[in-house]
């Protein structure tokens, strides 16, 4: 018998497809929630994405009690405290986060404060601190990438101390994720591309890193298939709501996969690059993915080869000899990146970003080595290895 063992957990109700937003009032009522608060950002409001959410609720006689629309891109402990204050003042009883990673993380953190009490969110930082379920919490993602609607993690910056506080608990998972194609229809091309590549990376790393397991594998491969099928089509037909829905579902599925089997070196390097060079997360993922797969190649030859079926379809898979499939998978990802570069100049190398200098590479390598994701990379990464990957990703 092998030592194989795994855990898989995803209690989030997924509400997806046409007119999905209109299910929010019913779901809230089902949890005895009558006074929801919306947590979102200015961009979401400006894009007119709040209207359909509000309209869907009001039509059913459910008033949105309060709207906070000033979540910054990097949410902080102060913001969380302020929102919790408003929530209490307005006597809200549930939260609907509408937005990308930051709005969702903020919603999770606010939910801790309003459920557990107090004003100091830092007190709840770490793993396993929460012991009770929180208030009803719904998430409406407006990007198709982060997968935050199905992860049990939130990261909030403590500005005073200059550190990022992680929060991990299965109680942070929302009660429901509402995937409605209307919410991603207006996403600009470069964000569509970068966030989809984030999802692609979640699925690829989930499938090739150490904590892979049969359940997360199923989600990962389906996500990769959907992204490979739909991404370029959506880039060329941004208003195609079927394609948008495919990408949004793929993002949620990739989120379910990686929250149960973790990510690896692509994310370790990406987190470090984001912190040092202030590049968007999805962009970093797209950039590093093929270089890291090449670095891991001999350790992940078999699973990476399997992915060719989902990246390129059965004809290419069947026509490629088994021994060449892993390399062919990397080529497929490179081909996709080239196509995205042609359509929206999504950078493929650090040099192409124009925001990274060569003398920053050592700093990025050192920081990546301290990132939690590196623990689950299938190959043990030394400082030299990380530097070598970065040099290859340079130009």
């Amino acid at each position: 018998m092998t030592n194989k063992y795994y855990e898989f957990f995803c209690p989030v109700k997924v509400i997806a497809g046409k007119a999905a937003l209109e299910h929010i009032p019913y779901e809230l009522t089902g949890m005895a929630a009558k006074r929801p608060m919306i947590v979102t950002d200015k961009g979401v409001r400006a894009a007119g994405l709040l209207e359909p959410v509000i309209a869907a609720c009001e039509e059913s006689g459910l008033e949105i009690t309060s709207i906070y629309d000033d979540v910054p891109p990097d949410s902080s402990t102060t913001v969380v405290r302020d929102i919790a204050g408003i929530y209490r003042q307005e006597k809200c009883d549930s939260i609907i986060a509408v937005g990308g990673g930051s709005a969702i993380d903020t919603g999770k953190a606010v939910n801790i404060l309003v459920s557990e009490g107090g004003d100091d969110i830092a007190k709840y930082s770490g793993a396993g601190v929460l012991k009770h379920p929180l208030k009803p919490f719904f998430v409406v993602p407006t990007t198709a990438g982060t997968g935050s609607e199905v992860t049990s993690v939130a990261v909030i910056t403590d500005e005073a101390k200059g550190v990022k506080l992680p929060f991990t608990s299965s109680f942070l998972l929302p009660n429901a994720a509402i995937i409605d194609p209307r919410m991603t229809l207006t996403l600009p091309p470069h964000i569509t591309a970068a966030t989809a590549m984030d999802a692609m990376t979640h699925a690829t790393e989930a499938f090739t890193c150490m904590a892979k397991n049969p359940l997360s594998d199923a989600y990962a491969t389906s996500a990769i298939k959907k992204i490979s099928h739909s991404l370029l089509h959506v880039m060329d037909n941004p208003k195609d709501s079927d394609g948008r829905l495919e990408l949004a579902q793929a993002s949620t599925m990739a989120g379910i996969a990686f929250s149960n089997s973790m990510v690896g070196l692509v994310h370790a390097l990406g987190h470090a690059t984001g912190a040092i060079c202030h590049l968007p997360h999805g962009l970093c993922m797209s950039l590093y993915l093929p270089y890291v797969l090449e670095y891991n190649l001999e350790t992940i030859r078999e699973p990476l080869g399997e992915l060719l079926l989902y990246l390129e379809g059965p004809e290419v898979f069947a026509a490629t000899p088994a021994g060449r499939r892993a390399e062919a998978s990397i080529s497929a990802i490179r081909k996709l990146r080239d196509a995205l570069y042609k359509r929206c100049q999504l950078p493929r190398t650090l040099k192409e970003t124009g925001k990274v200098t060569e003398d920053q590479l050592d700093h990025i390598a050192e920081m990546a080595l301290d990132d939690g994701s590196i623990m689950f990379n299938p190959k043990e990464v030394t400082l030299e290895d990380a530097r070598a990957v970065l040099r290859r990703a340079w130009a």
């Binding site: 150490m210 973790m262 301290d370």
Partner: protein
Amino acid sequence: MLAKRIQPMVFQARRLYVELMFQVMGRALQAVSEVDEKVQNEARALPDGFLFEMMVMPDGSKLIVEHTGQGRFRYHGDKAPRPVDLSIQFKHIAHAFLVLSFQEKTSVAFANDRMLVDGDISYAVRMTRVLNRLESFILPKLIAERAVKEYPADLHLPEKLISAARIYLKVATNFVETVRA
């Protein structure tokens, strides 16, 4: 039934083995940090006085080491002089046994949710690398390959320093062979 009568013995043996291995690792951590540059470089990033604990939940065996500065570790047995900064906790003695008898790699155990980290993840990542390095020192190459993700190509440590640990280990391994279930 025979199995029922044997079980308590297996439990007892496991507990003894885990306790023994924690002692071996604690002493070896201190010894290796005195001579190995790689371990020192990893450890130097930890604050001085940093206390690291490995333990079995809910209240089982413990291993406590302190980073005393310049990349050196001091083994404190199973008593911490003050609250620890980083704790790696096995969910069950059976999981600790799997890892400490080198049937499951430390990194795999993390991936398999066998243990929890309480404290800063970046320190946990560092300590995992230190433990990997340590395992490749105190174990014969064949077993070490099973215990760590990759066997380092550059192990230059006086045999004398590690032979003591290896003797411990030999006793321990024999012991495992008999109780392995």
